[in-house]
Every structure is written in C-alpha cells, then in structure tokens.
C-alpha cells in the first residue's frame, strides 16, 4: 500500500467561484478522480496580515505574526501537491496571493540565513507545484510577471514548479466556461500529477 497523495489547492481570488477558482476546481477534481486526498483553501475567507518586513525571522526562523496563515503553512508542509491559483490583476497576482507569498519569508530565512532548512533534490522532485491562473486579456505575455513570485514561493516551500494551468483571453470567451479546452486540460493535469507521484512512490517502494 502506498500513502495517499495529499493535494492542497489555494485560491487567491477575491471573487468566489469566478474563472480562476473554477479552473482550480477542475484541477482538484482531476486529482480527486485519481484518488488523492484534496483540500481547498480560499484566502479571502481567512483573516491574515501581509509580511511586516520586520526581519525578526532572519534571527529566529519564526514569523512573529500568528493568524490564519500559520496553520496554512503547516498544511503546505504536509502536502504532496501544492496548487496556487490567482487571477491576473494589473499584470500580476492578486494582493491576497502576494500576501500569502510574502509571509513565506520565515522559510526563506531558515533556508538561506539560518541554514536550518534544506530540501534535497529528491524531496523537491517528490513535491509538485502547479500554478493556476486566468486573465481577461489575450496578450501572450499577460502571465509573465506572475511567474517569478510563484517560482520563488515553490522554491521556498520545497516544491518543484511542475506546471502551469493557465487560460488567457477570457474576456473574449465570456469566462472560463466558454474556453474550448481549459477546464478539460485542467482536470487532465490533476489526474496526471497524482499518477506521477504514485509512480514515484511505487518506485521508492521497490527500491527499499
């Protein structure tokens, strides 16, 4: 028997059940079909403050703020697959999503200042990160400025930035439901990531 694959989806959209959350739901549905334990968190329903830039974590490795995000970071640490979902607002991720990402500073401090946290290559490979995003504009570059912050977040939390599930031009399609392929592709991506982790678990099982 292998351990269940745990999937954590985090929606950073201020709008409930909008395009981004719907696309996230499709990916989560795919992971559920593949047998994963799935949890979805909606940032707008949580109470949290952004990073205060106090740098206390640079000395202690612990954030001085205790709020709803404290538990979220425990859940992130326990997940096999982390899916971060944010629509594009003003060419970037939402303020809510950035609020979560900036709070990971204490992990960055543990890794690079205190050197008390280290993810091996194998460990990182076993933890897959997916970025889900939608944009109203059709520009090919509309997601580009979002990627670096997402890359930083997956690096800091020990996930391999495995893939994007993104759909632009939604103003023209009249929303995600009108997009010809996005939802089906998202579901498929969800099935695929769980299958991949199962395969890695099985390989580890035969090696030990």
């Amino acid at each position: 028997m292998t351990d269940p694959v745990t999937v954590l989806g985090i929606s950073g959209s201020p709008r409930r059940h909008g395009n981004t959350e719907t696309l996230l739901d499709a990916v989560l549905e795919g992971t559920r079909e593949a047998g994963a334990d799935v949890e979805k968190i909606v940032l707008r329903s949580l109470a949290y403050t952004p990073c205060r830039g106090c740098n206390v974590c640079h000395k202690t490795g612990v954030c001085i703020i205790e709020d709803d995000l404290t538990e979220i970071f425990d859940k992130i640490a326990a997940a096999d697959v982390l899916i971060i979902a944010s629509p594009i607002y003003s060419m970037g991720i939402t303020a809510e999503t950035k609020g979560l990402i900036d709070r990971a500073q204490y992990l960055w401090a543990r890794k690079f200042i205190l050197k008390t946290l280290y993810f091996t290559t194998e460990q990182t490979r076993r933890h897959k990160g997916i970025f889900v995003s939608t944009a109203g504009l059709g520009w090919g570059n509309v997601f580009d400025a979002a990627f670096p912050a997402i890359t930083a977040f997956f690096n800091t939390t020990g996930f391999e930035y495995w893939d994007n599930v993104i759909a632009n031009d939604l103003d023209r399609y009249g929303g995600i439901a009108g997009h010809p392929t996005a939802l089906a592709a998202g579901r498929e991506k969800g099935r695929e990531v769980v299958a991949l982790i199962r395969k890695m678990q099985a390989r580890e099982g035969t090696e030990t």
Binding site: P87, M91, A95, K98, I101, Q105, P148
Partner: protein, 203 residues
C-alpha cells in the same frame, strides 16, 4: 502654479530603504518648490479589490475607505510616485493592494471610455517608480515593472512619462545610506521631473 506631488510609501517597514529613497526625492522636489504629500499605504485603510467588476457599471468603487480620498488625489496630482521594495520578486502585497484598486480607473478608461484626467492635462503628468531590493540580481525588478506600468497607464500617465529609480543590493535597514549614488540619483531625478513639468506648463 505649484507642482503637486503625490507619493505612496508602500513598504511595511517604516523608514526603511525604499522610504528613505522616496524621502530623498521628496526633499529635492520641495526644494524645487513642489507641494508634496506622502501617503504611507500600510498605515491607511485601503482594502483589496473585491473583483466584483461593479466599477465597470458604476464608474466608482463600491468600497468606502481611504481610497476615496486617494482616488481624487491621483486625479489631481501632477507627479505620482510609487515606492515599493521588492518582496519575493514583486511589489509588496501592500503596494499591490493600491495597484489593484486602480481598477476603477482601468474600467473608466477602457470599458466606459471616459476621461481619467481632463484633456488639457493629458501628457502633463509624470509617474515615478522607486524601488529597492536586497538581492543584487539585475533582473530583480523585472517582474514588478508590468504592474507598475499598468498602474500608471490606467491613471493616464504615458509610458514615456514614467521614470524609474531602482536600487538593488540594499538589504538591511539603512543600507541605502551607504549606497554610492542613490541619494544623488534621487535628487537628480527630482530636478529632471520638476524641469519637465515646468516645460510642459504645469508650473
């Protein structure tokens, strides 16, 4: 006429590197005779955009908070300065709140097709992005810039009227004071902006 400067300090850390860079520029603007207002974004009540899109119909935001005042000041100002440190390769969450709330200008301009500033003031506004980063990478500011351009575009500052002063490799509080050129660069930028605004007839 006096040059009206509206500045946003968006770092959660008071009097840190990005705010120091901003203060240097504002001091120099005052010496040029400008009227200067600094808003410390983390200390005022500006809530995130709800993504409700009501502004596309109402031509105003449904939220009543300090952004009501900021909205009017953004329309009035001749020079708008956004100062943000780089956190995780982007603007701070606090700066992004302000940028996202400019959605009301975006819908006014591109959905409702209404003017943001009166026609006679078009092309007579300057935007400035001041930033600091702890990392020494040259590309550390790259992912912040599209959101900055977006912000200035929707508030009717032309792309060619945006100025950038971005200082990397300043991490600890106060590090910018040891930077060889930052202070002089901020003063020079203030002089250039004031001269430009005078040339186009603002003051």
């Amino acid at each position: 006429m006096t040059i009206d400067v509206l500045a946003f300090a968006t770092s959660p850390r008071r009097r840190g590197n990005s705010e120091t860079l901003l203060d240097w520029m504002l001091d120099a603007m005052k010496e040029e005779g400008a009227a200067v207002e600094k808003i410390v974004v983390p200390e005022v009540d500006i809530r995130p955009c709800r993504g409700c899109n009501a502004c596309a119909k109402l031509n105003r935001c449904i939220q009543r908070d300090y952004m009501d005042y900021v909205h009017d000041r953004i329309v009035e100002a001749d020079c708008i300065i956004l100062a943000s440190p780089i956190y995780c390769m982007g603007l701070t969450a606090q700066a992004k709140v302000l940028v996202d709330r400019a959605q009301v200008f975006c819908t006014r301009k591109y959905v409702l097709r209404l003017p943001v500033v009166p026609p006679e003031r078009k092309g007579k506004r300057v935007g400035v992005f001041l930033s600091t980063a702890g990392q020494n990478w040259d590309h550390v500011f790259d992912a912040a810039i599209p959101s900055v351009k977006c912000f200035f575009n929707v508030i009717d500052v032309r792309d060619k009227d945006i100025r950038y002063l971005m200082v990397n490799n300043v991490d600890e509080k106060g590090a910018i004071a040891c930077h060889p050129t930052a202070r002089a660069d901020a003063a020079a930028l203030a002089g250039e902006v004031a001269a430009y605004l005078q040339e186009v007839g603002v003051a």
